[in-house]
């Protein structure tokens, strides 16, 4: 009886802890597949931003700008004009907080947003080499970073980007999708967090 209980616990733990990337098969040759998708560049754009986090909702305007020195800036403001934060990513992907209001100035918040924006800006994919995997109808390209592995996922004919993901220790952390028109002018960007309740939806604004 005790043995059965022990086995049940082990089985539960194994299932509970099983990797969400365990089905990936490592592959070598994918031809020029990554080159068809990379680099992921978003043109300078304004987005209407909607954020749902742990039962709370907030909205605002998100501005993404490609700077002349190849760095990128991400600025979030309220609809009425207040700048909440201004983040900078260097050409090499180094992150810098240009300004942030007190309410946003928390280490965990900034790190979460840094990772989210780094992924949608395609910054992890500037590094090389990538680990290459096959799974079902998809190719996975994984880039190891300080805080986990960034994946871009394509279908096997490499015709389109399926989604982007952050994963860490076998667990999927974040998924980014761009339904409709994709890079470099995604009409919609959806960011879903899987380890806590947070969704961000960005809808491109056509300036007047």
């Amino acid at each position: 009886m005790r043995c059965l209980l022990f086995e049940s616990i082990i089985a539960f733990l194994l299932v509970g802890c099983s990797s969400e990337y365990s089905h990936l098969q490592k592959i070598q040759d994918v031809g020029d597949c990554p080159d068809k998708v990379l680099p992921l560049i978003i043109k300078t754009s304004w987005y209407d931003a909607s954020v749902d986090v742990v039962g709370k909702h907030l909205s605002g305007l998100l501005f993404i700008k490609n700077m002349p020195d190849s760095s990128k800036r991400v600025v979030f403001t309220s609809e009425a004009g207040l700048t909440f934060f201004d983040f900078s990513f260097s050409k090499e992907g180094n992150f810098h907080t240009v300004s942030v209001i007190k309410q946003f100035d928390k280490k965990a918040v900034i790190r979460t947003l840094q990772k989210d924006f780094s992924l949608i800006l395609g910054l992890p994919f500037l590094q090389s080499p990538a680990e290459r995997y096959s799974a079902g109808d998809d190719f996975y390209f994984g880039f190891k970073e300080k805080y986990g592995t960034a994946y871009f996922i394509t279908n096997k004919d490499c015709a389109s980007l399926q989604r982007l993901e952050w994963g860490d220790r076998g667990k999927r952390l974040v998924t980014v999708r761009t339904p409709g028109s994709g890079y470099p002018t995604p009409a919609i960007i959806e960011i879903d967090h899987h380890t806590f309740s947070m969704k961000i939806k960005l809808t491109r604004i056509e300036k007047e």
Partner: protein
Amino acid sequence: MHMCDKSTSLNKSRSLWAIIFVATLFCVTGKAQPKGFRPVSDLPTFKKQFATQSAKVSSIESSFTQEKVLTALTEKISSTGKFWFKRSNKVRIEYTKPYTYTMIMNGDKLLLRDDQKENRINVRSNKLFQQINQIMIDCVQGTVLDSKDFNVEVFEDERTYLLEMVPTSRSLREFFSTIVLKVDKNDFTAASIEMNEKSGDSTAILFKDKKLNTQFSDAVFAF
């Protein structure tokens, strides 16, 4: 957990900014003399006039154009919308292009509505909100020049009074460095408002097609 804290406090910030926005619509307030303007020589008379004329305005209906400037990025975004005010404490600000967003203040209650959802906030739930609410009342009643929350200097040219408001309280200083309000001399209502942030970014709102003391339903402020 942290993100939850962020959201809650951010909602407060957004609400606060909304109220500041509303409050300053009715207010007047600088350091250096603005170009083309001279200091108002007889401040007591101006104060009295401002209070008297403000009391005559029972409602305002107007269009507006807002321009947000990200100074360091040499970028700006313009938006347009409609504005309604009814004495003494009902305000609706509705952005229509290029995004939709509505703020309604009705007494102690505040509604923020975007494309996806809405937030209802009781202004009385927060001391800072109460402070801002008082600023709004002071502004509507034309007594903002006596407010302890701002150091106010008043300038004028031929057609406009310019009130340069420098926040004195720490809570307000966190959000902006100055607010500059231009008031039409002919009716003592806001012609434009410019909110300047510490970072150098600014937001300017220009009111046009103002209709004063017209009749419109309270339903505009219902939620």
